[in-house]
């Protein structure tokens, strides 16, 4: 029982947290309408992965991988530094993504006056249907204005055959 507990719940505590955070983040990205909330969800999602990386470099009872002077420094057990370095890079990437996303939200707000995805899609949809209606009309007009062959053109049509109006 004791064994099970250390091996699962507390021992893998970080990983449980990673999974929970990941799901929260992913759910937020999918479920929320508000673009800023989507970005927040995305951030949580990414953070969970950061924690995952940091956790895998962890050694039980170790210190941070920082240079220490003296005897303590000689013998210190420190966490694997490479994942931390990697995650530093990943954090930068995540940060720039967030910055870009927020900038986009600002522009979207300027253009649409809203940052609710539903509103924006509705506005676009309305315009989209109008536009496609217009295109359909133009197509129909073009078809109506199309030149037809004269009845006595030298083609392979029979007398009672109607002109194809395609």
């Amino acid at each position: 029982m004791q064994m099970l507990l250390t091996e699962t719940m507390p021992g893998l505590f970080n990983y449980w947290i990673v999974i929970v955070l990941m799901m929260i983040g992913f759910y937020t990205v999918i479920a929320h309408d508000n673009l800023v909330k989507k970005i927040i969800g995305l951030n949580i999602f990414q953070t969970s992965v950061f924690i995952f990386y940091i956790s895998m470099g962890q050694i039980t009872g170790s210190t941070a991988p920082i240079l220490m002077h003296g005897a303590a420094g000689q013998q210190a057990v420190y966490a694997h530094p490479l994942p931390q370095v990697l995650i530093l890079t990943a954090i930068v990437v995540g940060l720039s993504t967030t910055a870009l996303a927020l900038a986009l939200v600002v522009r979207i707000h300027e253009a649409y006056g809203s940052i609710e995805e539903d509103d924006i899609l509705a506005a676009d949809y309305q315009r989209g249907t109008q536009e496609s209606q217009k295109e359909q009309e133009r197509m129909a007009r073009a078809r109506a204005a199309e030149r037809h062959a004269s009845r006595d053109a030298d083609d392979g049509r029979e007398q009672d055959e109607d002109a194809p109006d395609s």
């Binding site: 199309e146 037809h148 053109a153 030298d154 083609d155 392979g156 049509r157 194809p164």
Partner: protein
């Protein structure tokens, strides 16, 4: 003989199409250039007869399209015959086209003549292709360059026709022809046209051979075996010179020529005969012959009737190939020649009637023969040739086809040929009979009123050709036989 000649002949019309385009502003010069190009091409092809007859097989590989698959030209007798037919009828059609297009005040005449030259270039390419891939390249090129000709008028009707034209030809070629080529390549490891075929001994089973042959023949939509024949009547929206040269000679003959060539040089007559690869096509082409003739009976539009007649006549050639015997192949290639001369004459006549009297329905032709004696005379001669009566060229091809069918003891095919000949008589001779013997309508012109000379002269020449072919068939037959070799 320098094999570069082959390349030169293929490229020549394409290059001269530029000259045609450049002289577009001066119609007389433009047509002169066109005709001169055609005559030069004909001279070039005729010059090849002697070396080929002497047994030379010039071959030229330019570069590799795919690893192991060159862009290759090779000339052999079957190809030479097709090239001869196409290049002989082209200058005539150009003269005729000039008369027709001017007589009917057509627009975009320069584009018309340019595309014509390109189509001939593709036809020569097909004739001289050294392997299936090269043939496929030119086959598709031909589909493409004839599309602007079919949609020449640019109105709704010609667009609809063009859609069917391109739709069926591309669907069959990309959907069936291309996979058939790839399968052949995987089995044989080569696509070169080889005497005796390349598929024998490759592990292709009899069932596989039947499937592959069927795939090939239906893939070659230009051969118009039913149910992929619809494009041909649709293509009749084009001006009549197009219907005459392309949809009675170059395009459709490119199709049946490909079928013939695949039968002889890819399958090999022996292999095809032994495996019974052609079994399905034998019967579908027979059905096409009968069905197309019956439909032609009910067509009142002259061009449409001729189109369905072409569908039926093409299947004679497919049938000849599908017999998979030497006699069958000889009859097929001979029919390429005789039908070309016969059908182009008929289309020339249809165009001449339209230009002179503005008639396009058969029911309106009553009594017109008296005012257009040359046209309807030529029409009669060409009809008799297609029916297969001596002394017209068509008699020989039908004779060989019948003896070929008898040779493989398929007596049902003889029945098919007999019935279709009767149908031919009904739907073809009906037309000159009306024109000569029925009383004229009130608004039929009295007295002599033929189409312009540029229209009438070519049709008289081709009609004379129909008769000449009867007397000069023997050299052609022996020439083809030499290509097919001994046996079978």
């Amino acid at each position: 003989m320098n094999p570069l000649w082959l390349l030169a002949l293929v490229v020549w019309p394409a290059v001269m199409s530029l000259a045609v385009a450049a002289t577009g502003r001066w119609p007389n010069i433009r047509e002169t250039v066109s005709v001169a190009t055609g005559v030069a091409l004909l001279a070039g092809v005729v010059g090849l007869i002697e070396p080929i007859a002497a047994g030379e097989r010039p071959s030229l590989t330019l570069f590799e399209i795919l690893p192991g698959l060159g862009f290759t030209f090779t000339l052999e007798p079957l190809g030479l015959i097709f090239a001869l037919v196409a290049s002989a009828l082209w200058p005539l059609t150009t003269i005729y086209g000039a008369g027709y297009m001017r007589g009917n005040d057509e627009h975009a005449q320069t584009r018309f003549f340019v595309c014509f030259a390109l189509a001939i270039s593709a036809a020569i390419g097909i004739a001289m292709a050294g392997n299936l891939l090269t043939l496929f390249v030119f086959y598709e090129m031909m589909t493409l360059v004839t599309y602007p000709l079919v949609t020449h008028h640019g109105d709704a009707e010609s667009r609809a026709g063009g859609r069917i034209y391109l739709g069926i030809l591309l669907t069959t070629s990309i959907g069936l022809f291309l996979p058939a080529i790839v399968i052949t390549w995987l089995f044989a490891g080569t696509l070169t046209f080889t005497h005796g075929g390349i598929l024998a001994g490759t592990g292709l089973t009899a069932l596989g051979a039947i499937a592959l042959y069927t795939l090939f023949v239906y893939g070659i939509g230009k051969a118009a075996v039913m149910p992929f024949h619809r494009w041909l009547p649709s293509a009749m929206v084009a001006p009549t010179p197009v219907s005459a040269l392309l949809h009675a000679v170059a395009v459709v003959k490119a199709g049946v020529f490909s079928v013939l060539k695949i039968t002889v040089y890819i399958f090999g007559l022996d292999f095809a005969f032994k495996t019974g690869a052609t079994e399905i096509i034998l019967w579908t082409s027979s059905i096409t012959i009968i069905a197309a003739s019956v439909i032609a009976l009910y067509c009142d539009n002259l061009k449409k009737r001729l189109a369905y007649s072409t569908v039926g006549q093409l299947s004679y050639i497919v049938l000849g190939s599908a017999l998979a015997t030497k006699l069958g192949a000889v009859s097929g290639s001979l029919h390429i020649v005789t039908h070309a001369f016969g059908k182009i004459t008929l289309f020339f006549c249809a165009g001449a009637i339209y230009t002179a009297a503005h008639r396009k329905y058969i029911s309106q032709l009553n009594g017109l023969g008296r005012s257009m004696p040359f046209t309807f005379g030529a029409f009669t001669i060409a009809s008799l040739s297609l029916i297969g009566l001596p002394p017209m060229g068509g008699a020989w091809s039908k004779w060989y086809l019948m003896s070929g069918s008898a040779g493989v003891e398929e007596y049902a095919l003889l029945g098919v040929l007999a019935v279709s000949t009767l149908l031919n008589i009904v739907y073809l001779l009906d037309i000159p009979a009306r024109a000569f013997f029925l009383p004229a309508d009130d608004d039929t012109p009295r007295g002599f009123s033929e189409a312009p000379l540029a229209c009438v002269l070519p049709l008289c020449v081709t009609a004379a050709g129909c008769i000449a072919l009867f007397f000069f068939a023997y050299p052609i037959i022996s020439f083809i036989s030499s290509a097919l070799g001994e046996g079978a």
